[in-house]
């Protein structure tokens, strides 16, 4: 499933490059800040994370994601556009599960608006994850 904000499986480099292709045309932007969240092969008690499985409340994601965009655009007057996409389903260690791109007239606004967007995604987006370990056990993360 692909909506405006969710994508099933990892966010591939092709998807990321597609987003980046779009930015060239905006000649009133001076800076673009991108954040990529990646699944880390953490180890706990001798077990290694091989993947994360994400689930999302899709209907509410759409509502909350629109609110996040509106919040950022009102808080950062210089922000021109905000795009983000989050994975659902299985994303293996080393793969990307979150992509955020914020364009603004000036660099600091781009950077700060992107940072705030990442924070709001963590806080507001109804997404859950469980870590899958190399012994096939799993653990829900908060």
């Amino acid at each position: 499933m692909v909506t405006d904000y969710l994508i099933n499986g990892p966010i591939t480099k092709k998807v990321i490059c597609c987003f980046l292709e779009k930015i060239d045309e905006k000649t009133n932007s001076g800076g673009h800040s991108v954040f990529l969240g990646q699944v880390r092969a953490d180890e706990f008690n001798g077990k290694k994370v091989t993947a994360i499985e994400y689930s999302a409340y899709e209907g509410m994601v759409m509502v909350e994601a629109d609110k996040i965009k509106a919040t950022i655009l009102s808080e950062f007057e210089d922000a021109k556009s905000i795009d983000f996409v989050h994975s659902t389903g299985i994303v293996k260690a080393g793969e990307i599960s979150l992509f955020v791109l914020v364009s603004a007239g000036h660099r600091y606004q781009a950077i700060h608006a992107c940072t705030k967007t990442v924070e709001l995604i963590k806080e507001k987006l109804p997404v859950w994850k469980r870590e899958i370990f190399d012994d096939d056990s799993h653990e829900w993360k908060q």
């Binding site: 969240g37 994400y54 689930s55 999302a56 409340y57 209907g59 509410m60 509502v63 989050h86 599960s97 979150l98 990442v118 995604i121 963590k122 806080e123 507001k124 987006l125 109804p126 997404v127 859950w128 994850k129 469980r130 829900w140 993360k141 908060q142």
Partner: protein, 77 residues
Amino acid sequence: MEVKVLFFGVLAEVTGTNFKNFRDVKSIGDLKLRIQDDFPEVVHYNYRISLNNEIINTDLKLKDGDEVALMPPFAGG
């Protein structure tokens, strides 16, 4: 009347289902008791409740077609 209740994250795992429909529930308070009857393990978990995509903190009346979700702490990113 009927409302749909969605279970997310660890609550989908412990209840063994992603959703269940409940008939003739008057309010969120009423619904919470009905959910606990069917899925007693739910009380051991931390969660917030949403009604039609909006997080709610008070008891509210329910109407036919409402969608309620039990949501453990978010863990996106």
